[in-house]
Symmetry: C2
Subunit: 444 residues, 2 copies
Amino acid sequence: MSDLLIRNCRVLQTSAHEPRAAVLNGQDVIVRGSRIEAVQPTGQADPSHFGQVIEAGGLLAMPGLINTHAHVPMVIFRGLAEDVSIEKWFNDYMWPLESNLQPDDVYWGMQLGLAEMIRGGVTSVADHYFYMDRAAEAVEAAGTRALLGWAIFGSGGQQAVEQSAAFVRQYQGAAGGRIRTWMAPHAPYTCDDDFLRASVRQAEALGVGIHIHVSETMGQTEASLGKRGLTPIQVLEQTGVLDVPTLLAHVVGAMPGDMAILARRTTGIAHAPKTYLKLAMGTAPVRAFIGHGIPVGLATDGAVSSNTLDIWESLRLLALTQKQEAGSPEAMTIPQVLFVATRLSARVFGLPDDLGAVEPGYLADIILVDLNGLHHQPLHSLTASLVYNTAAGDVRTVICDGKIIMRDRQLLTLDEGEIVAQVNAGMARLSQRVPNKRIQVYNP
Amino acid sequence: MSDLLIRNCRVLQTSAHEPRAAVLNGQDVIVRGSRIEAVQPTGQADPSHFGQVIEAGGLLAMPGLINTHAHVPMVIFRGLAEDVSIEKWFNDYMWPLESNLQPDDVYWGMQLGLAEMIRGGVTSVADHYFYMDRAAEAVEAAGTRALLGWAIFGSGGQQAVEQSAAFVRQYQGAAGGRIRTWMAPHAPYTCDDDFLRASVRQAEALGVGIHIHVSETMGQTEASLGKRGLTPIQVLEQTGVLDVPTLLAHVVGAMPGDMAILARRTTGIAHAPKTYLKLAMGTAPVRAFIGHGIPVGLATDGAVSSNTLDIWESLRLLALTQKQEAGSPEAMTIPQVLFVATRLSARVFGLPDDLGAVEPGYLADIILVDLNGLHHQPLHSLTASLVYNTAAGDVRTVICDGKIIMRDRQLLTLDEGEIVAQVNAGMARLSQRVPNKRIQVYNP
């Protein structure tokens, strides 16, 4: 039997339409196959009728977290580019380091990052990187869900577009449907208009969307305005990128006119506040996006800027930085933050009717969070504790697609010892920076 | 025998004079009584000569963290004042809630907060609250170190000053010297000049310092300038508060002229960035303070604003918010952050020659941090991981004053179950807000 009973948990209840958050106590969650069949008061379901039973004893069941923008395999470089400007970060560190990258590095780096994320309750990731066939293998093994894009630069020419498209074709629906694939041109500042248009043609032909970086800082927006009189968002509009579903990473440097453009399209914005603080990129206008009906999802970005792949940190920093930016502690309330973390992240990820809720009919991507730690006590407000107190280590059990992939903090799908050994074996080679050897130049 | 050998650890090495951070591998730390006797390569010391041995197996030994400003017992109210303005936070929530406070609440709240802090590697706290005789009892039981002040408001008159002074006298040097006591008038906006002067006279007579809130926001500074033409720091100068050693909480709203005043005095500033973000208070000019030679220490403030008592969060947010404020990722480097977390926090706490270093002669307040978690791998940079990746749950063992108070995440001094039961029993009573019943009014 593939049936699963999660017994006697609390359930986080949210609305699909507006920021509301409540908690139901004493509930059973019934999972059949990959979906949630029912959420009902404990006592009605007979545990002996289920293939697997988790005695949740007051743990909180909530939707698996969604990381809407990352470069997961970059964990292998974590800690190698600290306290440097964005220009140096790209030109003197990241892009030289990535010239060391081999397909096996992506495979083990992806496993490491997925394992870190599972331990923190992340069941889905939208990933944008290289050698994504190897990343897909790792997702298959981990048992998680992913939206994968093979990152390409304009310098790669038509061949790169074909490569990204071939990956889309080959891995669409892989891992029993847990993997979806999109086109992934890097950014308007590394891809010229013809390259973007070619990417759009492929996306349209394949019936998929585009995952791309855009307006990462106001500096990039100003550079684009200076060079060609268009914001990066306007470049995406003119090249047709916004005619397909898009996942836009960052958009920190949005101009007021960009809002109306984005509001008319099927687009979502990935928000990675730890990276923005660390690289002093500015604060994204999240409240304005949401006010215009543009969904915003939580993200970490890669671990060379964010150091961790911890969505709880993103969630907390979303609240804190938006209050700061608004100059008001009344801004970005707890229900709003949880709305972003659940429903809006599911929309940005492209599965609004399948993810982001513990409700009948939704995919059974569920995490059980332990709020008994001293740092939560006394629990006057469970939802406040979710936003301001919860650590990755509070996640006890993780279910994805109806299967238990971490139980009582034991990973069931991946071999932590093997992953760490494999990654450590590559450290010396990966940390070398060869003068003048880099995969790109940053000059937006 | 009270001797302790910590065997085969890494040791964080810092300088007392400038931001430098390095790591020594394969070290033994020898503790005799309450102090560190030696730090030497593993292999020279014979474990059979020691009363206690900790096999550290590559864990990192670093100084116990210092929380330079908190209201620890406020954990009992955590989660009760969310998403509200500072005015409402004080007038409609915090000060009405505190009218419910009884001495036993302080005792159990202090135990809960100390237990949370020990689990996160905090061995010292500068605490500013009520019924501090009961807080001192909790510190005695916990085995930690504290600088305690009985908080008083001007409305309490001379009797309040006497009470704060009596507490100083009675508990100075308590718990075998682990407790020090200072005077603790609340703030210039709740204490008039005569009250501040009376507090100074007591501090001078008792040979102690003053722990006080000041210039918490630029709004407070502007209000003070508007009412009397003086910044809150100038008020402290004129009333003689700065003539004794002072621990100043926050100073977010510092004016340029305040820097020179503070630089001439024996003063330290407690920095609690999570609270500043959450209450949209602005960003403290930390780099300017340090540039003027004014020491800055890490702090959490109370858990009703910061939700947790997690100094790792403060450390991380210090780095992130100062980079943001500077508009440069090159600002507030990893060595600078660790300098604040160790040496400067010890100066702010008033024990610069005793705390903040794992070196011979220093007090044996040592924590062992486990950097083997997946969120640290691969460990290209241990110091980067300390600042950006380390969670409270990574602290494995805590030693204070030469005694092990947590071992392999088991608290040895406090009874977690009893604490949680006691605190939970008071939740309904403590969360009531009686109309018009409050201990003070906020109107700076």
